[in-house]
């Protein structure tokens, strides 16, 4: 029973680690993501747009299956987890082999290896030592550090470069997992929201995607915000001067623009929009007394602000409509766009004991502007602005970025760094008693280019060998005689 279970587990493991499983999973990811780009997706598309695009039955089915929010559906996340598991399993399954290859380099080629290796070549040499020295010199001149391998009954030369290339693919897989890890951390602990501030306003309430709000442990104040335009009127730059307020103190200041956010305590504030908030910042009026010969006065009014015109009279900006319409003797707000603005002033006179309504533009069916003790002329209207901030907290993004960098490194190693190995072994033909140097080489990729390099190496070895023979023979005689 236990054995059955173990073999079942083993079988499952082998299946997960197999390339087929990986390919099937990746194809599934491809298909489902493609579906997710074709079917309208829920949070981005407004509900009424969804309802007009699909008939109720179709929409019900799509919703039930989760196709209207593919990228946040549990099965899609599950699929990505399975892919990660597959990457882990495949890597774990293959890693020990590569590690053995990496940690215990194959330095002395045995006979069967020598027979099968391509490319290889044999060069005639006078004796073992001179051949090996020539090989060493040739390898040195190519920038290798050849190493003498001495075993009990044989010896040779081994040289290699970029052994790390054998492990590069694991670097790429690890980086992929690191990226996944980062996004999972962000999915669990990160959040995104929106914060809209009028100039001068302080707030710590962030609107999260699902209409809930979250309170920050610090507040943010907008001192000023603005927009610069190109000559043709399209926006060139949005900026906001933001101040972080914590424990009643200003702790950080920054002027943010699009593409350059403010970062405080892991929370980022991005400039995302800028516009009119529908409120009056300053209405400039010239007031002239209706009776008598009082002087003209220029006054500035903000929304709901009251200004004294003389000892007896005050004026208040009671209502402002960016886009108004009149129906049944009432003024309505038609929209929030600055299309057709209207201003409602209330002039109060203590002596008369009542208020007079004044409208801009004048509306006779509602109020008679001439009854008021003052005559007004609007000269300038300055509207208040808001700055829209995207707020996000992404604790996992460092995982993502380090994963990306690691992947760049890994891919460079995978594609462009080649593990090159050379072996040189002196061989003595038992029949003739003549020596030759067997030279072999291998590269783990880009083999056609390697063959050229190998031939160059052999040529340079042969060049090293040529002038040597006579001298070395006499040397050898000397050493033999010395023994």
């Amino acid at each position: 029973m236990a054995v059955g279970l173990r073999s079942l587990g083993h079988k499952t493991w082998r299946n997960i680690a197999s390339i087929q499983t990986g390919v099937i999973l990746l194809i599934l990811v491809v298909i489902l993501s493609a579906v997710g780009t074709v079917v309208l997706q829920r949070p981005a598309t407004e509900p009424d747009e969804m309802q007009s695009a699909y008939s109720p039955q179709v929409l019900r089915i799509l919703d039930a299956v989760g196709l209207t929010d593919v990228f946040h559906a549990w099965w899609f996340l599950g699929l990505l987890l399975l892919v990660s598991l597959c990457v882990v399993a495949a890597s774990v399954d293959r890693f020990p082999n590569s590690w053995r290859y990496f940690s215990r380099p194959y330095k002395y080629p045995d006979e069967s290896f020598r027979r099968a290796l391509h490319p290889q070549k044999s060069v005639a040499i006078a004796d073992e030592e001179s051949g090996l020295v020539a090989a060493e010199r040739a390898l040195h001149s190519l920038g290798f550090k050849p190493e003498r391998v001495v075993r009990k009954d044989h010896f040779g030369i081994f040289a290699e470069r970029h052994r790390i290339s054998e492990l590069a693919v694991y670097i790429v897989h690890a980086s992929l997992l690191l990226i996944f890890f980062g996004t999972i951390v962000d999915g669990l602990w990160g959040w995104r929201g929106y914060l809209s501030l009028n100039e001068g306003q302080t707030s710590n309430l962030v609107q999260i995607r699902d209409k809930s709000t979250s309170t920050l442990p610090f507040s943010i104040r907008c001192d000023a915000a603005g927009q610069q335009n190109y000559q043709d009127g399209t926006p060139k730059k949005w900026w906001s001067k933001l101040v972080v307020v914590a424990d009643g103190r200003d702790v950080q200041k920054k002027e943010i623009v699009v593409n350059d956010p403010l970062l405080y305590n892991g929370v980022r504030f991005y400039q995302s929009s800028y516009g009119l908030n529908g409120k009056v910042e300053k209405l400039t009026l010239v007031a002239t007394p209706s009776k008598g010969s009082g002087e003209k006065r220029e006054i500035g009014l903000a929304e709901n602000a009251t200004v004294a015109l003389d000892a007896d009279t005050t004026v208040r900006l009671a209502e402002f409509f960016p886009d108004y319409a009149v129906r049944d003797g009432q003024v309505y707000k038609k929209s929030n766009y600055m299309e057709n603005p209207a201003v409602h002033l209330v002039v109060t006179s203590k002596s008369a004991g009542k208020g007079f309504d004044v409208w801009f533009p004048p509306m006779e069916e509602i109020a008679d502007n001439s009854k008021a003790p003052y005559h007004f002329e609007a000269t300038d209207l300055k509207m208040g602005h808001f700055t829209g901030l995207q707020v996000s907290h992404e604790p996992g993004q460092w995982g993502v970025w380090s994963g990306v960098v690691l992947m760049g490194v890994g891919l460079t190693f995978v594609f462009y760094v080649v593990h090159v190995r050379f072996w040189a072994v002196p061989v003595c033909d038992p029949k003739t008693g003549k020596y030759s140097l067997w030279i072999g080489g291998s590269a783990n990729r880009n083999r056609d280019a390697f063959e050229q390099r190998f031939n160059d190496l052999v040529a340079s070895m042969e060049a090293e060998l040529k002038p040597i023979p006579r001298i070395s023979r006499s040397e050898q005689v000397a050493t033999v005689a010395g023994n």
Binding site: I19, G22, V23, L26, I27, V29, V30, S33, A34, G36, T37, V38, Q41, A44, E49, Q51, S52, A53, Y54, S55, P56, V58, L59, F71, T183, R192, Y230, D232, T234, P235, K236, K237, W238, V257, V258, N259, D260, P261, R268, Y270, Q271, S272, Q390, V391, S392, E394, Q397, V400, W401, V404, M407, G408, L411, T412, F415, D448
Partner: protein
Amino acid sequence: MARAKAEQQQPTTGMTLIVMVGLAIAFLLFMAFLNVVKSGNLLNETNLLFATLIFYAGAGALYLGFGVTGTESYLKFASLATWLGLIANTAAVAHRWYEAGHPPFASVYEMLLSFVWTLAVLTLVAEKKYGVKVIGTVTMPVAIVGVVLMQLLRTDVHPLVPALQSTWLHVHVTLAMLAYAACALSFALAMMFLIQDNLQTETFLAVTSASTLAIYASVVLTRFEKWGGLSLVAWNPEQKSEVFLSRGVRLFVTIPDLGWLLTLTLLVVASPLVFYGLARWKNNDSFLALANRAVFLSILLQVMALVMFLVRARDGRYPSLDADGLFPTSLAASPFILSGLVGGVFISLLYLLLLWRRSDLERLLPSADNLDRITYKTISLAFPLLTLMIAAGAYWANQTWGSYWSWDPKETWAAITWLVYALYLHMRVTRGWRGRRAAYFAIVGFAVVMFTFFGVTYLLPGLHAYA
């Protein structure tokens, strides 16, 4: 025997092609002339683009001409024309850059300009460095399509909106253009490989005509309207959405006469398949020659149908059977029909390319093994570029929208492209996929790239509104 027959039939089809291409160039020259007269200024961008188009078209025609006739001297001139086109193209890029004050990456038009430029450069590199002399037969038509598309798209310089003012944008788009051009090159090499690999063209013929037949059959069966019209979804240009009568019920407009044209095309597209069937049934190769001719005819009609569709469905107001009055429509309202028609022309042209197998062409191309290896090398260049492109885009998005990944269609399709090439690499390394299967994979990968580049921008809604 079969080869002898194929070589007999070549000259006629070759002549048709050369005449067609020649006529097209004459037409373009005429248009360019009109344009110069109208503007009075030689070195403006439109004229530079026309010059680019003419030279690239000339290069394409010469490459094709070589493919058909085997005259080697054509190649030299083709290469020269590519150089000249590249000079004009560079001038157009520089002009645009100077006028806009930023590198030309801000709109689809500007990106196409850069893409075509990169493609031409890579073509010349492949030619000079790897000796793939006829690579232009595939890349130049792609470049020509790019330049023609540029003429259709608006060309006025737009200042950069705040979100686009970032160095990361330039990094992102440069990488994208390099990666896409490398993908285009790998596709071209894969096609060369298939030519060199003695692929059975008959099977390809059957698959090509069956799929084009399926495309046209589904369009005609679902959209053919009374009295030869073609019904398309109405489009509301202000809201940039389809027009709905009620929940889930779209308003259709009828474009008169287009239905007949598509039906005619359907019949012609079906004919190669019929001939193929006959050839199989009667075991008679002469039917195959007929089938090949029918493919040429079908491409002609398909291009005509596509052009008519583009011209009539791009804008204009048409009557509807369900409501009174005239309603506008747009290409964006009919994404599937448009991609179907484009795809049909595309696969038919691929087949056309395979027909050019000739012994002299085989001699001039590197061996199949080498082509396979160069294809792999190109993809191993494209894949890291794709990775970095996505990473730079994610970094930029993080700086701008506060989120490095938001699954918008362009992002998702970029990821799909990446996955497709990742699959290719895995199959090659672990399963030893070489040769034909790898070549098919490279072709599919490029199709996905093209969809990510054009399809997503025009057919799917999303954040990447500027590109």
